[in-house]
């Protein structure tokens, strides 16, 4: 699915990623955890194609393509999806209108015909149920006036509509109460299949009670310093990140 090799990246001259390696196969859920400033959100941003980062070394292969050569929209066309940590409010642009444009541009890139209005609306009804999103929210302006929980549910709703191969959830649990967390996690689990994969970026272990990962990686100082099973997340929750930092320094 995706393979990241020796990725180095700077922002404004400061090195954030310092040789990151990660391989994710279809059907897998990977969690990336780590202390503040470790480079978690930088990784998500680079995968989605944010232009303010400078890649100095390394490569990323996604579905056989050199990801770093592709524009943000081309990555989406290939099936990459980023659930934003801070979803953007866009007044005047309706959720459904923009999703229909997105779906049709993805279809167009694949040489497929545009979706019919009827099929599209049926899909909106079906997918909004997955995250218990009121269908009136679907027709409102994108994220405008949405609560924190509604914004995150809207991210997963969009993910359901676009049906990506690889979803990167950037701190999707931040700002969520326990009920919203459960709904979001249920959405992600429902969408999970043998053909797609998920990277869950999170600061806390809490989300991983609901979205059970196959692998847990610890990101520290721009590198993945430890990889383990879901038990690693529990250990981190209990002990914090300091022991990892010490272990890394010793190593």
């Amino acid at each position: 699915m995706i393979e990241i090799k020796n990725l180095h990246a700077n922002i404004e001259g400061k090195e954030i990623l310092k040789g990151l390696n990660l391989k994710v196969n279809a059907g897998e859920v990977h969690a990336i955890m780590g202390p503040n400033g470790a480079g978690k959100s930088t990784l998500a941003s680079i995968l989605a194609g944010r232009e303010e980062y400078e890649i100095t070394e390394g490569e990323v292969t996604f579905e056989g393509s050199d990801l770093l050569e592709l524009s943000t929209e081309e990555r989406a066309h290939l099936g990459l999806f980023l659930a934003f940590q801070y979803p953007v409010e866009i007044p005047g642009v309706s959720n459904v209108n923009f999703l229909r444009t997105a779906i049709n541009e993805i279809r167009d890139a694949k040489g497929e015909d545009p979706i019919s209005a009827k099929d599209f609306m049926a899909m909106v009804r079906e997918k909004s149920k997955i995250v218990e999103l009121d269908s009136s929210l679907a027709s409102r302006s994108v994220n405008e006036g949405f609560s924190g929980g509604e914004k995150k549910r809207n991210e997963i709703f969009q993910m359901a509509m676009l049906n990506p191969k690889l979803a990167v959830l950037d701190e999707t649990d931040s700002g969520l109460d326990i009920d919203a967390l459960r709904i979001v996690a249920k959405g992600v689990n429902t969408l999970k299949s043998a053909d797609n994969a998920t990277i869950v970026i999170t600061h806390y272990q809490r989300l991983l009670d609901y979205i059970v990962p196959d692998f847990v990686h610890v990101l520290h100082d721009g590198r993945i310093v430890k990889t383990g099973s879901k038990e690693l997340a529990l250990e981190l929750e209990e002990k914090g990140y300091d022991w990892i930092k010490e272990e890394t320094q010793v190593g």
């Binding site: 943000t72 953007v88 444009t101």
Partner: protein, 402 residues
Amino acid sequence: MEDVLTQTKFDILKTRLTQTVLPLSEEAKEKAQALLECSDFPTRRNEAWKYTNVNGLNKLLLDDSGSKSTELSIISKNAQRVHVVNGHIAKDQTALSGVKTSWTLLPELASEEPFDALNLLYCTAAIELNFDDLENKTIELVFENTCNSVISPRLFINCKKGAKGTVILNFQGTEDNASFINVSTYVEVEENANLSIHKIQKNGINAFDLQREYVNQADNSTFTMNTFPLSGKMTRNDLMINVNGNNCETFMNGAYTLKGKSHCDNHTTVDHKVAHCYSKELYKGVIDDRATNVFNGKVFVRKDAQKINAFQSNANILLSDTGTVNSKPELEIYADDVKCSHGSTTGQLDEEAVFYLRSRGLSEKSAKELLVKAFLGEVLEEVDHDDVRSYVEEQIELHFSA
């Protein structure tokens, strides 16, 4: 030699214009001529023209040569229509009720504006529209500009006591048209009347379009002016509304899309002379390439005009690094029990929103188009005429696909 030294830019322009054949009284003619003789083109020193330079007018050929033919649109299929072709009223039209196109004497000049005097002296068409019932009929004046000519219509719009009416002023120029369009519109909205004017300025890319609307509102009347400068080299609109009556409502909306080297200037004045009135103004536009935009909105609230609610807003989005906006909201309030606000913003498209949309698969172009449409959509929501709204929406879309 002396002649050359004393020659004004108006004198130069006049040599290429043909005096009107419409009936003018000697007095009216003299008054207009006198005004022109003591005037010259406005310069930067004139505050109202600080950012708008009309010297290019004297470079227009105005030789009635044809310009590249392109399709010209009619806005409303259901409207009663009057066609004005290259400035002149088309001959083979059936007479419409409430529309007067033949005159025994044109009304005199009522302003001190030299371009209004020019409009009168070189008038190519005079049209009076009268609304006297509640039918709310729509009259569309279609100005088809296919030659590089002087288009100098003088319009009189009267919405009688208790009547309701809609006017579409539809200026359509062929793509590379280089006409000089100079329009004066006098509007009377009588007691309890409700008038809406929708103005579309879809001019050729080399055309100069200078327009003035002089509006009077009587007690309990409602007046709406929607202005859509869509194309043209130079567009200047002066909207002057005297709210003379109590309990009036006044709505002014504008949406503009500028690109290339076009220049657009919207000056509006609302003069609240008496109490208990409401006015709301919303102008929004996008500026691309090297285009320049000027907005100047003035609201007067006179000493005895208490309980006035006046709101004004102008917002601009620059799509290039080389576009320019000069926006100046002005409030002059002499009453003490009023609620007034004004705001002006100029910025770029929200880059974070563009990235968000692109991350969902939209190309950069469609992401920007979607955001611009949403931005201008706020103005279009104020337009209660479906044909006008959908025409402008279509034009905004075309603006981006071109």
